[in-house]
Amino acid sequence: MASNPFTAEFLSQLEALRLRTRKEFLGSNTGSYSSPRRGTSLEFADYRRYTPGDDLRYIDWGIYARSDRLFVKVFRQEVDLFAYVFVDASASMAFPSREEKFLPASHVALALSYVILANQDHVKLHLLQNGSGKASQFYRGRRRMRDCVEFTSSASPGGKLELSSSLGEHLKRLRRPGKAILISDFLMPAASYQQGLNLLRAFNLDIVAIQVMSRSEVDPPFPNGSIALIDSENQNELKQQWNTKARRDYQSKLAHHNLEIRSFCHQSGIHYSFYVTDRDLGEFVFATLPAIGLFK
């Protein structure tokens, strides 16, 4: 695993980015994201009939000249964004080691968090574990990046994850809709992750799904011969004859599994991206994620 990628240059590059949302949310403060409410931004929204007391500066004098009726221009309100970053912290995220999978996943989460914090928006980190897991408070402003780092650093992946139930626990306490970023290996049955993503959709969140896998999972380095595989989450054991054919079969299954996730996300209006942890984080953040339309 590479050393700490959060160099000054990397951070300054992140500051240039802004998350893109496909939905309008009710923010709490003025920000840079459009809100369904009318406000005072520069972005024109609609016209309405003049009523006494309206600010005369918003009267559209051109319409008055053509129709002899007074209309005032209504503008969109621009608000700040509430983002929720969900990081899978189950035992499978520690395979083959915490440094090779969970840490890169948390780096992705931190990079996206920094983008949000740099735009004076709100970010809240959630660790998805068996039960409810942990969640940070809302952070705002780039100075809170340290808190984000400490929060993710304190996490220790372990246990079995039921995505929908864990997400449900976190979403119970969610008050403001916003952008949800789910970072997981998605090594779970299709029904399970679909249920979880549908739950996020039900809360009117703009969802991004980032699938993280280590190189060892993409291309398992097992020796040929008889092996007994033990599931890191439920300790189930499976005996297997590992050879070239088995390797090809596994990779085919993985490709099919990933395609199913991608397909579901596409159909559900969810941004999806796949990150293998031996790739450069900068390349992923600055090339892959913009390509799927995550940034403006």
Binding site: A91, S92, M93, F95, K101, D185, L187, M188, P189, S214, E217, P220, F222, P223, G225, S226, I227, A228, L229, I230, D231, S232, E233, N236, E237, L238, K239, Q240, Q241, A246, D249, Y250, K253, L254, H257
Partner: protein, 612 residues
Amino acid sequence: MEFLNPTALFGLLALPLLLIPYLIRRKPRRLVFSSLLLFLESGAQASGRPLGRINLPPLFFLQLLFLFLLVAALSEPVFSVRPTNVAVIVDNSASMQALEDGTTRFALAKEKLGTVLDEVGTAGQVDVYLTTPRLAKLNATVLTPAQALGLVKNLQTYDLGDAVIDYDQAFSQLAQEQKYERIYFLTDHPTTGQTAATRVISVGQPKGNLAVTGFDVHRGSLLDARMQASVMVVNFSTREEKVKVSLKADGATLASRDLAVAAEKSATATFDGFAERPAYEAEIDTRDALPLDNHRFAVAPGSRNLRILVITPRPKAAASLRSIKGVNVDVISPAEYGKTDRTGYGLEIFHFSSPEQLPENPALFILPPESSSLVDLGPPTSNVQVSTWREPHGLTRYVNFSLFRPTYSRPLKPQTAGQVIIESPNGALAFAVEQRSTRYLTLGFDPLPYLGRENLPMSVFTLNVLDWFLESGGARSQATGEPIPLSSIDSGDSLTTPDGETITLKRGNGYFSATFHQGVYRRLHGGASEYFARNLDDLGESDLRTSAPVRLRGHSGNGASASVLFSFWPYLLLASFLLLLVEWFVFPRWATPRLGLASGGFRRGWRQLMSR
């Protein structure tokens, strides 16, 4: 196709052992993986069975083939062409009478011979040989296989031990001289180093056995008419046996004893006070492997009186022995010894004299003038004190050695295996030897003249000496094969064998040598009967647990025998080593990287090695 060393084929039974390292190696390595989701989906690969599917690599089959070829090569396979000129050598020694599930080994050998002669074909020429009493051909003209089989079917074993034969040399010589293409040897001995031209067909398995190995009948003492007997039984097995020992004469049981014989030990049963009979039989009541040695025969001592021939330059000293009741003494000078007929004497006493060679009769040597094959003589000493004596022993019984002080003596230095009976600080004074059942005693002092009560310790010793020789006289039996001396044959003399066959003796026959069967031989001579006992006297025949193997070194130089055999085991050996080389290059597990064998196989092997 035949195998010269078929024992090696048992190695094939060990081939499945090759699976063991593969089964151990294929014990699955336990590896933790993030999720088994995708493996479970490919369920066809997973196995719920404990051992899973046995998936053997090509290396296993390569090694299996290598081992198979190696075992096949070791068994020395040969393609044989049907031989036409063969010799059949049948072991007819006593041990071939041993029973194998109720059938004698000799009968089993005959059965196997039928199979063997089938190989020869009807056009074959066969000679039949027996091994005892010596290796000799039976047929004068060449036999057909059917004739040879008929001849062998009528053969019987002899109650003889194995003849001393260097089988390897003898077979080689036969093959060369008689141009035999193959020699079949049927025996109960195991074989080592079987050759292409010589086939040893072994019958019988090692087993325990009980044997009567000793049977002596003698008088109680010089003056006692009653008889004594001792029967020695040896247990050639690994467990204690209890047997009933019976003493028989004329078909009637005189006495019997129960005897326990420990494993691999001997025990002796003694019988006293029975009447004199011409011949006796000792029998043990057991159903063991070899019935032959459950019997032993002996004849009674020839006379109650001891006839002594004294050869001495001092006749007066020797004549004193006549004062002992039951002793007949003839005294001659040493010069007359060669001309004297010595038959019928129970003891020869050489007093200050010695013969050129050991006599056939038991002999007492008193202060021989020079060293002999039995003893060397030391310097003379006087009034020597006896320091040690063997006890209990018939020669030292009742002798008060504190009063036993010879005035003149010469210490003896034994030159052969025997027993020192009396010893002084300077050396032995009495040395006893028993050779071929004949007793010899050498004294380093002079017990003569016999003075009765005037020198009681010495007189007691002299009487013991006469008793000791009397013990061994008369009832002595000899081994089967030992000829019976036939002196002065008259017309009408005959000899009856143990089988009941009566043979008319002719003048000029000095010996009757066909004593191949155990038992009592009765000679009718001038209306009187003389008895001779012959017994199996070879412990090697009775000990059926270990037979000396027939060692064949295979230096038969007969080209004809090679022509009927094509030995291809060297090719198999070569093929197996080629396979070994292939295995080495394809799977070079023991190579090191420095060897530079950086082939794909090498890397794979190296990885396997490092992953263990």
